[in-house]
């Protein structure tokens, strides 16, 4: 097994036993990026000098006996995370030269623990997309099949795990942007409860939905990463001040007597037969492990996509007003007067998906339409959240597919934005409800493409979905398969 194949916990053991140094591990990862990233395009920016300096610092810490689980581990960050002195583009032309003056909280917490940042990962522009095709820096290819998308918007973060070009990564999830690419690339991806991880220093898309989370090789690594970044932060007034449990210590809880709910609205006709089969196998496995399976109802599921594309675009149109060519970012060279400078800088700097969402959001918030669209969507959001609270009166976790189909081909859904939006039907409701969900590898289609399983938990009960996923992982080998790169 190569160094770049190791999980965080495996690499940590080797670093602790001094079988390996962080500099060696980091060099191996940088060489791996050099060898395969041309094919995958997971990275926008690779940072070898900083990474090796951080690795040397980590080795000093380890030599002094000061080692945390993440000390010396090579990690990658979605390019939505502000990084001091390292270009941060958010996948957009408008930020293609932006060098932030500070680190966001999640990044600072990784660095405090001695993690080594190897680079910034490709993504859909401003996290708007389900396929990574909206990046200004070109599409990411799925390491399992280079003709397919890796999903989005954290496609680079997922593809880097599958391509073995980072030991672990951070992504963000607004409507499925961690879980869906994790599913399409056969890795573990966790979207924590809204408020669990600080959003300070994360470039905003839809502020009431955005949440930071890890993408990893296995469930233990996801628990390690969540434990590192979770917790209250004074710099994010929406972060919630509840204690962060030791997620790793709680992984072995098992599923005996656990009540797992199957929302009938997620097991509909039109679900790809390979996806259906993978779900049936997972359900059978959980039954055999002593879990109690119950059907539940989330009656407002069919309204989630419409609700999301009003709320998210409205918030985006407001958040993205800051890109005006004044203080940072692209400024047009061709403008007379201030108003024209704003409009031309934005038109030149944003790609078509971002423009489309700004336009939809501006329309939904505009005079005369606010009540019909935005207020209506906020009310339906209440009904969707209530569905989940009702279901969690009856069961402990929900089990669903992540996506209706395995990964689709690059270009396949570009012509019809609505079809692209509808592919997020099983992940969006979790963001609207504000609760937590994860994706875990659950099989492959007949064509050899990954299929993910979603476990949805009660608000702030990441521990139960992690331990439920861990029980599944111990009985299956899907997470050990490697992409044919």
């Amino acid at each position: 097994m190569e160094i770049f194949d190791l999980t965080i916990h495996e690499l940590h053991e080797k670093l602790q036993a001094k079988e390996l140094s962080s500099v060696e591990a980091t060099r191996a990862m940088l060489a791996r990026i050099e060898a395969v990233d041309d094919k995958v395009n997971a990275y926008i920016t690779v940072t070898p000098e900083q990474a090796l300096a951080e690795a040397e610092a980590a080795d000093k810490r380890i030599a002094a006996g000061d080692i945390a689980t993440l000390t010396g581990i090579p990690v990658g960050l979605k390019d939505i995370f502000i990084t001091k002195g390292i270009r941060t583009t958010c996948g957009s032309k408008i930020l293609s030269n932006f060098i932030p003056p500070y680190d966001g909280t999640a990044v600072a917490r990784l660095k405090e623990r001695g993690a080594v940042i190897v680079g910034k990962l490709n993504q859909d522009e401003f996290a708007m997309g389900s396929s990574n095709e909206s990046s200004y820096f070109g599409p990411v290819k799925n390491p399992w099949n280079l003709e397919c998308t890796p999903g989005g918007s954290s496609g680079g973060s997922a593809a880097a795990i599958a391509a073995r070009t980072a030991t672990a990564t951070l992504g963000t999830d607004t409507g499925g942007s961690i879980r869906q690419p994790a599913s399409h690339c056969s890795c573990v991806g966790l979207k924590p409860t809204y408020g669990r991880v600080s959003r300070y220093g994360v470039i905003a898309y839809a502020s009431s939905l955005d949440q930071v989370g890890p993408l990893t090789r296995d469930v233990t690594d996801a628990a390690i990463m969540l434990g590192a970044v979770a917790g209250y932060d004074q710099m994010d007034s929406t972060s919630v001040n509840t204690p962060v449990p030791d997620y790793v210590a709680g992984l072995g809880a098992g599923v005996k007597g656990l009540k797992i709910g199957l929302p009938s609205q997620y097991f509909i006709e039109g679900l790809d037969p390979d996806v259906k089969r993978a779900m049936d196998e997972a359900i059978a496995l959980y039954k055999s492990l002593g879990a109690e399976i119950r059907e539940v109802s989330l009656p407002h599921t069919e309204y989630a996509v419409a609700t999301y594309y009003i709320i998210a675009t409205a918030e985006a149109s407001s958040n993205l007003a800051r890109y005006d060519g004044v203080r940072f970012g692209h400024r047009t060279e061709d403008a007379r007067g201030l108003a024209q400078m704003y409009a031309k800088s934005r038109a030149e700097g944003f790609g078509s998906e971002v423009k489309r969402r700004i336009m939809l959001g501006t329309y939904a918030l505009s005079s005369g339409y606010y009540d019909a669209y935005y207020l209506k969507a906020q009310k339906v959001r209440t009904l969707i959240q209530q569905d989940f609270l009702n279901a969690f009166q009856e069961v402990d976790v929900l089990l669903t597919p992540i996506a209706p189909t395995p990964p689709f081909k690059i270009g396949e859904k570009l012509a019809d934005p609505l079809q692209m939006y509808l592919s997020d039907i099983f992940t969006i409701p979790v963001n609207l409800a504000g609760t937590c969900g994860l994706s875990i590898p659950a099989g492959f289609s007949a064509a050899g493409l990954p299929i993910g399983l979603q476990l949805i938990g009660k608000p702030f009960d990441e521990q139960t979905i992690l331990s439920t996923a861990y029980s599944f992982e111990r009985e299956t080998q899907w997470h050990q398969k490697t992409a044919p790169l």
Partner: protein, 95 residues
């Protein structure tokens, strides 16, 4: 039609986006299709439902009003497309 090309042009002005004619044409078709789709929300009776603007029930988050260091003028201006002394430079505001 849920939205006309003239309305799309108006929204582009509100959004401060200088869009080309082909972009406006495409957006008129796409926004119409998406707005038609979201009409389905009208099938739901939401009278008396309290709107959710935030997933976690929360009061105002207060902190002590204490002096802290800021990033400083040079760091704040480092990404400025154009600067003059300690200011962001912009085109003339009033013609």
């Amino acid at each position: 039609m849920k939205i006309t090309r003239a309305e799309v042009e108006h929204v582009a002005k509100l959004a401060r986006l200088d869009l080309s004619d082909p972009e406006l044409d495409t957006l008129t078709v796409q926004m119409d299709s998406i707005l038609t789709y979201v009409e389905k929300l009208n099938a739901l009776d939401t009278d008396g439902i309290v709107p959710t603007s935030h997933a976690v029930p929360m009061e105002n988050a207060f902190r002590p009003d204490e002096r802290k260091d800021s990033i400083g003028v040079e760091a704040a201006l480092a990404n400025a497309p154009q600067r003059a002394e300690s200011f962001f430079r912009v085109p003339k505001v009033i013609e």
